[in-house]
């Protein structure tokens, strides 16, 4: 084994690992409650830089042949999604006051995410998926201030476990048929007419639908999102979702899907788009609304798989970038409330423009972007996906998906209506300063502006 190659190729993972070790050390020996945030921020920033460097140098390597490989496009995807973690960490200050546990768990989960994007075998993929998900079960529980949290964590754990079981079952069927653990067995299974291979592929696909919260496997998402604290919800809605989608993207590779997988790939996501957008209309809780919105967005993302290989990668990564940062912009700008439950109520947003014009404008912008209304980044992202779907010849699915996305406009506008057009709710007591959350929102805002004004330049990278 070439140790130098392992050091270089795994640079982002190594940085994260070093950060985790330092955090554990600090936690054990220093017995301080402060200082975890700068360490984890620095670690993630360094990991982003490492991944970006690997990408810009065009580094290609396979430190662990057949299991783990590094390619520039995937390093870039790593950098993009790891960058999403920066605002998440910044806005965690208010809920976790630099709790070391929180940061260790987040970094571990990020490590799992990085593994996913380099996985060449089902073994690595499984390792990555589990390492990404397990810390999140604990993170949901960490909020614990509310009775819903343990219930949410348990629900998430049980259904996440089911997904894992389905995934493993599918892998073993594929392994039984092909005798290999390489992920290329998946695309081979897609092409094969063998019943066992088809069953394996379908099970794996269902596992991803469950983890990505696609209808009818979505029921856990609203409860888990609502039960978690705000930074954890933000983490689940953006990074975990990105991890699942990118892992699926890696499985599919550049394979062009054909019948009957294409109908499966188009139909359930279409139902998710429609159902997610419809169910979000009635929500009173911000996090539940975001959960249903994320169900719809998972639908758009899986839609992208209908397109051809390179276009698919570009569409998914760009979408995750736009969707992730705009979602985080909304979370970072949520106004302070007396407690977690108050902050979560949509009513708390009423009259926000009078109290805090900046926050209202930021949330408004995030909502419009999530709704896919130009000129915000969400529009270009959605355009990219539907363009690919239509170019691949699925005109009817593209039109139905667009009409489904129209249904979503109402509930996003409802949030804006609350903030700008409703009388303010009874004044909530002023909360501690949220300067770090402000910093998080500025990061998201700058990214959003960049993507809005120079979409061509940003797309050029992927």
């Amino acid at each position: 084994m070439n140790w130098q190659a392992v050091l270089v190729a795994l640079a982002p993972e190594n940085v994260l690992l070093a950060g985790i070790i330092v955090l554990i050390g600090v936690e054990i020996f220093a017995q301080r409650t402060r200082g975890a945030l700068p360490i984890s921020l620095g670690t993630v920033a360094a990991a982003v830089a490492a991944a970006a460097l690997l990408a810009s140098n065009g580094y290609v390597g396979t430190p662990f042949p057949d299991h783990f490989s590094v390619a520039p496009a995937w390093s870039l995807a790593k950098a993009v999604v790891l960058a999403l973690a920066l605002p998440v960490l910044l806005l965690s200050r208010d809920d976790f006051s630099e709790d070391g546990q929180f940061h260790i768990l987040v970094l571990s989960s990020l490590y799992g995410f990085c593994l996913l994007l380099s996985a060449d075998s089902f073994l690595t993929l499984f390792l990555g998926l589990e390492l990404m998900a397990l810390p999140v079960y604990v993170l949901v529980l960490l909020a614990f201030k509310r009775p819903e949290s343990p219930e949410a964590a348990l629900k998430y754990l049980v259904l996440g476990g089911t997904a894992t079981a389905m995934f493993l079952m599918g892998v073993s069927l594929l392994y039984g048929g092909s005798g290999t653990l390489a992920i290329s067995a998946f695309t081979a299974g897609l092409r094969s007419a063998d019943t066992m291979a088809t069953a394996g592929v379908t099970l794996i696909l269902m596992a991803f639908f469950l983890k990505g919260a696609i209808v009818p496997f979505h029921a856990w998402a609203p409860d888990a999102y609502e039960g978690a604290s705000i930074p954890v919800t933000a983490y689940m809605a953006t990074i975990v979702k990105a991890g699942v989608l990118l892992a699926a993207l890696r499985l599919f590779g550049t394979e062009v899907v054909s019948r009957p997988t294409d109908d499966l790939l188009a139909f359930l996501p279409l139902v998710s788009i429609v159902w997610g957008n419809l169910a979000a209309m009635r929500q009173q809780s911000f996090r539940r609304m975001i959960a249903y919105s994320s169900i719809a967005h998972a639908g758009y993302l899986f839609y992208a798989f209908l397109g051809d290989g390179p276009g698919r990668f570009q569409a998914v990564v760009f979408y995750l970038l736009a969707y992730g940062f705009m979602n985080l912009l909304a979370f970072a700008s949520l106004p302070a409330g007396d407690d977690d439950a108050t902050r979560d109520r949509l009513d708390n947003l009423k009259g926000l423009f009078q109290r805090n014009p900046y926050a209202a404008l930021m949330i408004g912008m995030a909502m419009l972007s999530l709704a896919g209304i130009p000129p915000f980044p969400g529009f270009v992202a959605k355009f990219l996906i539907f363009r690919n779907v239509m170019t691949a010849g699925y005109t009817a699915y593209a039109v139905l998906g667009l009409v489904g996305s129209y249904l979503g406009i109402y509930f996003y506008l409802r949030v804006i209506q609350f903030m700008f057009m409703s009388a303010p709710a009874p004044e909530t007591s002023p909360h501690a300063s949220r300067r770090l959350a402000l910093g998080a929102s500025v990061i998201c805002l700058v990214t959003a502006m960049l993507v809005t004004i120079f979409p061509g330049w940003v797309i050029g990278f992927f």
Binding site: P374, F379, V380, F386, M390, L402, I416, M421, G456
Partner: protein, 512 residues
Amino acid sequence: MADATLLNAVLFLPVLGIGLLLLVPARAEGAIRWMTFWVMSMQLVLTALLYMHYDAATAGLQFETRIPWIPAWGVYYQIGLDGYNILLVLLTAFLGPLVVAGAFTAITKDVKLFYAMVFLIQFAMLGTFVAQDLFVFYLFWETMLIPMFLIIGIWGGERRIYATLKFVLYTAFGSILMLAAVIYLVFALQATTGVRSFAFADLQHAQLPLSVQLVLLSAFGLSFAIKVPIVPLHTWLPDAHVEAPTAGSVILAGVLLKMGTYGFMKLGFPLFPDATRYLSPLIMTLAVVSIIYGACLALVQDDIKKIIAYSSISHLGYVMLGLISLDLIGIQGAIIQMVSHGLTAAGLFLMVGMIYERCHTRELSAYGGLAKILPVYSVFFMILTLASIGLPTTSGFTGEFLVLLGAFKAAWPLHLHGNTYPLVMSASAVLGVVLGALYMLRFAQSFLFGVAKVPHDPVTDLNLREKLILAAIVAAVFALGLYPNEPMRKTELAAKEFQQRVSAVPIPGSAR
């Protein structure tokens, strides 16, 4: 090129305005109002300069900018002036300062946000007009929704939330189908010609069979028809108008409604000429139904804003009729009618706003004999009423007369060949003129004459600011009525191009 810089400056001046607004504290309301006013006025001056330097003898784009924006998709930031948009750009810039000045006393809540939204919608409207790339056009087209949503929703009347959601959900539905059509059209262009582009000029070369053209025209057309609005897609308009603040109504009636007819003229009809000719009986029928139905509804309203809202539906029906006549005079008339309606409807909505500020009711039956109490107001009101009816020497006459002339001129040869339907439709459209006179004169009669009554005593006549605003509009109305030749010279080449493009011999392979 310095000329192109001027057009960019006009377009981005509102963005600069928003930037300047951010620097002014929200409490300095006076400063905010005047700053907005001066920025808008500067925009008008620059637009007037553009108009004067626009060469009527040159076809195609002038003051053009073309910069790659998303190279991978062939999207260019491409803007320019041509005969299609020159008058509408001037109209938009002209109404800008008037809208701002008209809202000086009416808007007292969240003043800073209000003027930022006025700037934003001005930016989006101008951008929609000058865009020469379908992607850029769509961006601006959709961006218009957001400020209008807020303007109606924040500063509107009692049922503002209902009205603004209805407005947005109607328009967004059209837009989403248009987006699907845009994606398909660009894909079809690449598939048939190998050109990857969103430029209007390139998209005309896409070889589309009639069946595809029909679907795409329906998708584009639905979006445009909702904006116009054409009956039966008009139901959002009365609600939006009634609930919007004066400035919102003025922008809506003055410019926003023209987006639909402009869309048909610039995109819908020329991009899908075969489908347009195929559907022309249907489009003509809908136009005439809009003219008559709008007029009939205006006849029975008691809310003075609703009267003008329904009259807008009727007047824009003429624009559609002129465009679909495919006769040079009719097309020219349609363009003039767009500008004319922009001026008279904006003026009338401003006047309704002025009386509403004084009396706080829009019920027609609450007023009477205003000529005795408010002489200056009444004079302006009468002039705008007559312009709306289409009395000779006003802009309304030029527009409606040319449209009808063109419609008859196109219908007569068809009649001689045995197709009488267009002639019947044109004749029915004349009924709209009679109904127009009826509802506007009924309105003016009970509003201005008869026994003097106002719901709120004492009422003061117009102040200097209001007089100046209305004087500017009235001057423009007369200018367009007395000397329409000058603006029509600038639109003539575009009208000819439109006519040739849409009435050209069908392309091979798309025979009916």
